[in-house]
């Protein structure tokens, strides 16, 4: 296994997205360099139900909102966030 050129990230789904995908998290392995957008593409391809996710969802890496062109590293936690509705 070539760990230097691949990353495994933990992807978390919340609220309506968790219902659509039918799970609250998944492990995704992908070749580096990779962006959050690559993770989203992989998730939409690999998980039944995830094709209903938007192509450009709100996303966070390691508890911070990021743009989809942000790079991911091995061990990162990537979260896909439905439109925020708190308060």
């Amino acid at each position: 296994m070539d760990t230097a050129t691949r990353a495994t990230v933990r992807v978390r789904f919340f609220a309506r997205y968790a219902e659509l995908v039918g799970r609250s998290e998944a492990a995704v392995s992908l070749p580096l360099p990779a962006t959050v957008g690559d993770v989203v593409r992989r998730v939409r391809e690999d998980f039944p139900g995830a094709s209903a996710l938007p192509e450009r969802p709100l996303a966070a890496v390691n508890l911070k909102q990021v743009k989809l062109d942000a790079r991911v590293q091995d061990g990162d936690e990537v979260a896909l966030l439905p439109p925020i509705a708190g308060g």
Partner: protein
């Protein structure tokens, strides 16, 4: 000391929010004005037959985002003392989902800081709500105002 308090505190609760406790957190002899904001679960013409709202969150990020948000607020109003709680879980109509207390030497800063915190919460704190209705249906609330209908049994 202040940082230690910040790190130990949770901004999230699953119980009814104690306003007395929140106001006590910001009370100071130097503060002449305290502004309190309560966001409460409502039913109305636009939310027909809502009995409760189920709040869910990315809790680790909620805590991190509140630390960043309050750091930003304290940079803008250095003399203000701010406390906030967001309640999660199922909250019946009429009860508070969020409470903010902002105290400052003068009322203008208290009002401004309080307003800033609720607006930023709406913009960046990852919380979601699902309306539970009298007829048994459940509707995710889209902040743009467009509810996404889905059958209750799914």
């Amino acid at each position: 000391m202040r940082n230690a308090e910040l790190n130990d505190m949770s901004y999230v609760t699953r119980s009814p929010i104690s306003l007395d406790f929140l106001v006590a957190e910001v009370a100071s002899p130097a503060c002449g004005g305290t502004c309190v904001f309560l966001g409460t679960v409502r039913t109305g013409p636009d939310e027909q037959g809502v009995t409760a709202i189920e709040y869910s969150a990315y809790e680790e990020m909620v805590e991190a985002e509140f630390v960043r948000l309050l750091t930003d607020a304290r940079a803008r109003w250095p003399e203000a003392r701010i406390a906030v709680r967001h309640r999660l879980g199922t909250i019946p109509v009429g009860e508070a989902s969020i409470a903010i207390a902002a105290a400052a030497p003068h009322r203008a800063q208290a009002f401004e800081a309080c307003r800033y915190v609720i607006e930023e919460v709406k913009r960046r704190v990852p919380v979601w709500k699902k309306e539970l209705r009298v007829d048994g249906s459940e509707v995710w609330v889209d902040p743009s105002g467009r509810p996404t209908a889905r059958p209750s049994h799914v």
